[in-house]
């Protein structure tokens, strides 16, 4: 009865406009994201080298990919990097936010200091970091000239530790941003609840552990999304800091993919690695998105 057939013009327009407004974004998504993903998946089954070509080779690229120790290293590094990066950023971010929330004098000054690294790309800060971490001219050298001769900090040159310097620089860049997210979350908590809990005799420690931190769940989730997305896309950082070295010690899937697709002219293998990366992202994100979005319904 009440179908749009007998609706007046304004109502019908109103039923259409929202979809019309959404459609350019949607079309762009479908073509430029999902279309390209499909294209990339397709490429992973072809013999593409320098440019896309369309000779079907089946699973050969995947087969080759898994035989590359290089790929294994980059996956392992991703595990170490993403795990540490997300956990450390969250801890530092939360810690700083809690500290900064104690009616700190000079908050207005500290906040932009914590935040500014997010504004800089590693094309800009890469050299500074490289110098700072370099034992010959950086921190180690400075400490030693200041008299602490036994001080050693040569991680960036050490195959087993270089990945941690990548974590360090990455944490430097984003932990301030995470801090801002948590600070926003803290400021959004109702003070009444805190006062009530204090009346109940909760210590500060318990107050945070039992009352405040559980209420920050949305901030934790947002931080997780942002951090995992940044972890997966980490590329400039490695290129600027270590170039994937020493050896291949700091290679990540993103650098692996770029190198195979563009500098090694093995686009097929590059596409295969991209496909696996995307599937991994999907495996992590889809359950998360599902849970998040369903809850809100």
């Amino acid at each position: 009865m009440a179908s749009s057939a007998d609706a007046d013009f304004k109502t019908r327009l109103q039923n259409w406009i929202p979809k019309l407004v959404l459609s350019p974004s949607l079309a762009m998504m479908l073509v430029f994201v999902y279309g390209f993903i499909l294209f990339s998946v397709y490429l992973s089954f072809t013999d593409s080298r320098i440019l896309p070509t369309y000779g079907w080779v089946g699973w050969e690229n995947y087969d080759k990919l898994w035989r590359l120790s290089h790929w294994e290293i980059s996956l392992k590094n991703m595990g170490i990097f993403a795990g540490l990066y997300i956990v450390i950023c969250t801890c530092i971010g939360l810690g700083l936010a809690i500290f900064l929330d104690q009616k700190i004098r000079g908050e207005g000054l500290l906040r932009p200091i914590y935040l500014y690294p997010m504004a800089l790309s590693f094309i800009v800060t890469g050299t500074a970091w490289k110098w700072f971490l370099d034992p010959g001219i950086g921190l180690e050298n400075v400490m030693q000239t200041w008299g602490w001769t036994s001080f050693e900090f040569d991680w960036i040159k050490n195959r087993d530790f270089a990945i941690y310097t990548v974590v360090l620089a990455a944490v430097w860049q984003t932990s301030g941003f995470v801090m801002a997210m948590f600070l926003a979350g803290l400021r959004g908590i109702d003070n009444e609840i805190l006062r009530a809990a204090q009346m109940d005799g909760a210590s500060n420690w318990n107050l945070y552990r039992r009352i405040i931190i559980p209420q920050l769940r949305p901030a934790f989730l947002s931080a997780f999304v942002i951090l995992s997305h940044l972890a997966i896309k980490t590329f400039d950082l490695v290129i600027a800091l270590t170039g994937g070295g020493p050896g291949r010690a700091t290679e990540l899937p993103a650098t692996f993919m770029y190198s195979y697709t563009f500098t090694r002219n093995q686009m097929g293998i590059g596409a295969a690695s991209a496909t696996i990366m995307l599937m991994t992202i999907a495996a992590i994100m889809i359950p998360y998105l599902y849970a998040e979005l369903r809850e809100k319904r």
Partner: protein, 293 residues
């Protein structure tokens, strides 16, 4: 949303407070360190740098590297400095930020206030798009730009940034508008306001905080992008980051580190300014929506 009332009611002792200040200051130093290295070395003559001691304050203070990086450093065959590329970046960033923010706002508005079947799935699709690694879209994107006749233009570059920014701007605005009272929309409907009038007259005037978040996010991401800028720009539209890269990554010859650092800071200046000026609104904007649910 007055700042004072938002502080926690937690009380801390004197010793704890001292410790807290100490930790906060230490982290402040940690964050400032690379900037210090860059600043200090950008005002030294080159010999002082290659002589070692990157942490030392300059013995001879000079602004020469800054001038050189800005207006006379060798970027390509011409010693133009970073100046012309700065404007290229501006021409690309401004429309891209504006368009992606407006689209994000409209999408957020539709997805929260004009719900329809499967809208959540659509949003999920948009959100997932944020995670696509940019390296894989390079070749197909180049082809699409070619087909659309936008290859090598500032507009094409802006389009690319809009496409891959929409996911985030939509996320921000959607979360913000989700807590915006729907009754206001209904009231406006009864008052006779149409879709765009409601958006323009009711929603947008209240969107300041989240617009700041979206603009900061987009501005920094687009300004700092190198991959797209290098791949999709042509000689007349190369952005600042590409020029900086050309300055810093030159393959042979003397590396003028002081000029590199000065150039790096110059290239980062707009984003730094945005963060410093709008930083306080940034936390407020995050507070107003994007971290909630």
């Amino acid at each position: 949303m007055s700042q004072a009332s938002q502080d926690t009611a937690i009380r801390t002792g004197r010793v704890t407070r001292t410790l807290i200040y100490l930790v906060l200051l230490l982290f402040g130093l940690f964050y400032l360190l690379p900037l210090y290295v860059m600043l200090v070395n950008s005002v030294k003559p080159l010999e002082e740098i290659t002589g070692g001691g990157m942490m030392n304050l300059p013995q001879v203070f000079t602004l020469e590297p800054w001038l050189k990086a800005w207006s006379s450093a060798q970027i390509g065959v011409d010693p133009t400095g970073l100046k012309p590329y700065f404007w290229n970046s501006i021409k690309m960033v401004v429309p891209a930020v504006i368009v992606s923010t407006i689209l994000g706002a409209l999408n957020g508005y539709v997805l929260t206030k004009w719900r329809f079947k499967y809208d959540t799935i659509l949003f999920g699709l948009m959100l997932f798009a944020c995670f696509i690694p940019f390296q894989i879209v390079l070749i197909p994107m180049a082809r699409m730009l070619g087909l659309m006749g936008l290859a090598g233009t500032t507009w094409g570059l802006a389009l690319v940034h809009v496409v891959y920014g929409i996911g985030f701007t939509t996320l921000y605005f959607r979360n913000y508008y989700a807590v915006f009272p729907t009754e206001l929309i209904r009231a406006a409907q009864i008052d006779g306001a149409g879709f765009f009038q409601i958006f323009w007259r009711i929603l947008l005037p209240s969107s300041g905080p989240i617009a700041v978040v979206s603009i900061i996010w987009q501005f920094t991401n687009i300004w700092n992008d190198f991959l797209f800028g290098a791949s999709f720009a042509d000689a007349n539209s190369q952005p600042m980051t590409v020029a900086l890269n050309n300055l810093v990554q030159s393959s042979t010859g003397v590396k003028e580190y002081n000029v590199h650092f000065a150039g790096a800071i110059l290239a980062a200046m707009p984003t730094l300014l945005v963060y410093i000026v709008a930083g306080r609104y940034f936390v407020r904007g995050l507070m107003a929506g994007s971290v909630k649910g």
